[in-house]
Amino acid sequence: MFLSVSNLTKSYNTGIITHVLKGVGLEMERGQIGVILGPSGSGKSTLMNIIGGVDLADGGTVEVDGQRITDLNDNRLVEYRRESVGFVFQFYNLVPNLTVAENIEVVSNISKNPLKTDEVLSAVGLSDKKNRFPRELSGGEQQRVSIARAIVKNPILLLCDEPTGALDLETSRGVLSLIQKVNARFGTTILMITHNSAIAGMAHAVFRLRSGEVAEVKHNSELIPAERIEW
């Protein structure tokens, strides 16, 4: 199994103890697209942060490509993030004073075997905008840059946190289609968080989270192309 999450628990103590994850478990094969669905507060982001190595679990295990993430120390986690995982955020999180190409270089700068910036830009259809600043791009274009930045290191796992949350339908389709293409072209395993159940159709595996637990797991035998998704 490429991704294996088992009995994962996480609580926060902000004066009151909140149990965010209560023994979550899920599995995904290499090269699959997975979608985590769930309402606000269901623990989606916390789960993704632990899988991405930016947060620590209280209990349980996470294994990615045979590596147990939950056992890694801070240094190894940094190594894991810089080599194995790509992040795509809802609000793109681009560095505002760097150009499109430079935003991609932020990641290629620290990767051992990055793809060429021009190749990635071409893959996301932004070759002609490489010298633009984020403010000069539309929301969809900014999300494309964010995807380009995530894939330039050629990660084995791409984590997308509500990648279409800030976009309209048409632009969202474009972004989802790009994610599908990345999956097809580079064989990247993709795990996506979303509120939007319509997106579930493009995933091999769908995990529905409710109150910190996996309430439902669904595997799609046929995937819907992103261009045909409606909501």
Binding site: D55, R81, N97, E105, I110, A166
Partner: protein, 749 residues
């Protein structure tokens, strides 16, 4: 009001930065109050004493007593005091007895009581201490016993030197005041005159007039020295002037600078809180309520810093003033502070910083709540420099660092100018100190190849008074000023063409001919003269003017003089050929002491170093201050930069950047700005220093050239960069604390 709680919480959240701001304001107000306090109290003590006790404008001796002093006073507009003077040998020293002045140079009793009974004597406190005497005790002088009734200070002996031309005090020498009647016991006492002009303007013109009147009446002058040239009177004045010139402009400039820096800081902080302001605005808060809230922090900080600085400065003034006046005899006066300066120290930062915060709040609140809530203020707009930069050929780290710096032009300017200011103060302190050292080492004392200078009371003549021994040479001189510029005073010196007693090289180090008119470089540059130019000079003593053509310029440090051949000098001033007033000698000569006005001995230049002690004190404090400013400015800007890049830093952490890589990217980006700031400090320092030097030259006729020492520049550079490195380390911790969750939760773009 809930918002009030936020004020303290905001301060607590950014303790380091706010402490930096308070320290900066504190230093500004501390230095301002200390410097103005020291300068004003020195002035009060020295100038106040001079005015209250009528310090002489000139002292002179003549061949016979003035017949009708009252008539001469009427004609000259001067108060003229004839006082008696007699030097008495005492064990391990000498005491100069002076008759008590009633009109001019009135003695001030500093302890004990005044003269009331016959045989009462007042002694100078140093003499009393040095000779183990006590008030109430007795002293025997030439067989006559005097009762020591107190100690005193006299305006014409504030700096006690035996001879008018001495520079340093003679060990064991002191003065005592007795009533005029006591001088019957000392028939050999001489009469010396002191004059004080009632009209305090145009002292020079009145001096010339009095000189003319005395000559007209047939008196022959044997000594004539105005207060400005009289070290007994002028030494403490030089201290006041150097204190004022060094401390006052620096402290005021620094105070304004610290207010400006803090103003900019607060402005940026208020600006970065735009979303909160917008939200509160949307919740129904009125503009004035929000303005009041956002003014609370800057006003609180500036008032606290200003007040603390002023309060800390108050007890520091007395010891500094005392240490600066240890060599002088002055009546003790209480330390006072100008209420205006105290008010300024607290109100100036409050007003300045409050105003800048108010203006920025007004600007922010002109936007709608919606605009503010969108975080428009936080979004980094791409400025024209960022847009114009094409950095494709650089490595990513360099690109990132350049972009990080040009992201905010005001922030960059703030850092560059802040570092420049700190470097300027540091360089100024060290350069001033070095310049003083050079002036001491290579200046007047080093010019004397023959180290002993015998000044005679009256003009002598080579033919009539016999020759001068081997290894000695004569010269003649008078004090003068260029026509129309009385503030520039210097000596015109006539030396023999084969003179070797003075070193006299041109600017390239080649020996200059003595058979021509040579001017020292500082004087030439002050008067903007070059070789071939003509200057009209006026003799300060008699007002006669002479025209000279400059033949050569002498390499010199701080000295102001013009040398010319002795014969030409005597011919020009209508004195008999062979006239001289001074003998310069390589060895001691046994002249009759009664003929001498004083001996200057330059054999031990170390002995003169004590005179520079106040300067060292000021320089040390200025250096410490500069380092502190540099630390605070660099820390403030770096911490501001980290705060303004929090999201980027957090994002980079998520993307896998390590702490060291982040520190390199973010913190190293300031290095070129610090580098440029430092090197800009050098021309700023020279411009500032030369302006102050010119100002001092006009005020006290003392030229302190700004001589840059490459070693000190290097030391300053290393110091500033060490400060930068330390600040980087401090900021590294702040950087490490930024959590990855900030990027995960944020919607920056």
């Amino acid at each position: 009001m809930a918002l009030r709680k936020r004020v303290w919480r905001t301060i607590k959240e950014n303790k380091g930065r706010y402490i930096g701001i308070v320290i900066l304001i504190l230093l500004g107000s501390f230095y301002f109050i200390a410097a103005t306090g020291i300068a004003n109290n020195l002035e009060k003590m020295v100038v106040g004493f001079a005015e209250e006790y009528r310090q002489e404008d000139l002292t002179f001796s003549i061949d016979k007593p003035i017949e009708d002093i009252a008539a001469l006073e009427g004609e000259s507009g001067a108060l003229i005091e004839a006082y008696r003077q007699y030097d008495v040998k005492v064990p391990d020293g000498e005491l100069r007895l002076l008759s008590s002045g009633a009109k001019v140079n009135i003695p001030a009793v500093t302890s004990g009581r005044g003269l009331e009974n016959p045989a009462d004597i007042l002694l100078d406190p140093n003499f009393l201490k040095m000779h183990g005497l006590d008030i109430g005790g007795q002293i025997e002088l030439n067989g006559k016993t005097f009762n020591i009734v107190g100690t005193m200070a006299v305006p014409n002996y504030v700096y006690i030197i035996k001879n008018l031309y001495d520079v340093l005090s003679t060990s064991g020498f002191g003065i005592g005041i007795v009533s005029g009647a006591e001088f019957e016991a000392f028939p050999e006492a001489v009469t010396v005159y002191a004059a004080y002009f009632e009209d305090r303007e145009n002292i020079n013109a009145q001096t010339i007039k009095l000189h003319g009147l005395l000559s007209e009446k047939g008196y022959s002058l044997s000594e004539w020295l105005d207060a400005r040239s009289n070290k007994r009177v002028s030494m403490p004045w030089a201290n006041i002037s150097s204190m004022k010139s060094m401390s006052f402009p620096v402290s005021t400039a620094f105070f304004l600078l610290s207010c400006l820096i803090v103003g900019v800081m607060i402005m940026r902080m208020v600006k970065s809180d735009g979303v909160v302001i917008g939200t509160l605005y949307a919740q129904g808060y009125r503009r004035r309520e929000l303005t009041r809230h956002y003014l609370a922090i800057p006003i609180l900080l500036s008032a606290a810093g200003g007040l603390a600085g002023a309060l800390l400065a108050l007890p520091c003034v007395r010891p500094v003033v005392d240490s600066m006046l240890t060599s002088y005899i002055l009546p003790a006066k209480g330390i006072t502070f100008s209420p205006l300066n105290l008010a300024l120290a607290v109100l100036m930062p409050v007003a300045f910083i409050g105003l800048s915060s108010f203006l920025i709040m007004r600007k922010i609140l002109k936007k709608s709540a919606v605009e503010l809530m969108k975080g428009d203020e936080q979004k980094a707009k791409v400025n024209f420099i960022e847009r114009a930069l094409r950095l494709d050929r650089f490595k990513f780290n360099i690109k990132f660092q350049i972009r990080e710096q040009v992201r905010s032009v005001p922030r960059l300017l703030f850092l560059v100018l802040g570092v420049s200011a700190a470097s300027m103060i540091l360089l100024y302190g060290l350069t001033y100190n070095y310049s003083m050292d050079v002036v001491m080492e290579k200046g007047a004392l080093a010019r004397y190849l023959y180290p002993l200078e015998y000044n005679f009371k009256e003009v002598r003549n080579l033919q009539q008074d016999g020759g001068i021994p081997e290894g000695a040479e004569p010269y003649n001189a008078f004090r003068c000023y260029p026509e129309g510029r009385e503030s520039v005073e210097f000596y015109l010196v006539g030396t023999e063409p084969d003179s070797v007693g003075f070193k006299m090289n041109d600017m390239r180090g080649n020996a200059l001919s003595r058979d021509q008119v040579n001017i020292s470089y500082p004087l030439a540059s002050r008067l903007k003269l070059k070789e071939g130019d003509t200057i009209i000079i006026v003799n300060k003593l008699d007002g006669k003017s002479y025209r000279l053509t400059i033949d050569g310029i002498v390499e010199a440090y701080g000295e102001q003089f013009v040398f010319m051949p002795l014969d030409e000098f005597n011919r020009m001033t209508s004195q008999p050929l062979g006239s001289y007033r001074t003998v310069l000698s390589s060895h001691e000569i046994d002249f009759d002491e009664s003929l001498l006005a004083g001996v200057m001995d330059a054999r031990d230049p170390e002995a003169y170093k004590d005179l520079a002690t106040p300067t060292t004190l000021i320089v040390t404090s200025v250096t410490a201050l500069a380092v502190l400013i540099a630390v605070i400015i660099i820390y403030l800007v770096t911490s501001l930069m980290i705060d303004e890049s929090r999201n980027t830093i957090s994002l980079l952490k998520v993307l896998g950047y390590r702490g060291k890589e982040l520190a390199k990217l973010i913190l190293n980006s300031s290095m070129p700005a610090v580098f440029i700031g430092f090197w800009l400090g050098l021309p700023f320092m020279l411009a500032f220093g030369n302006n102050i030097s010119n100002y001092v030259a006009e005020m006290i006729n003392m030229v302190i050239p700004m001589i840059v020492n490459p070693l000190y520049v290097l030391v300053s550079f290393v110091l500033i960069f060490a400060v930068y490195k330390i600040t980087k380390r401090l900021s590294g911790r702040k950087l490490a604390k930024i959590s990855m969750s900030e990027a995960l939760k944020a919607g920056t773009e």
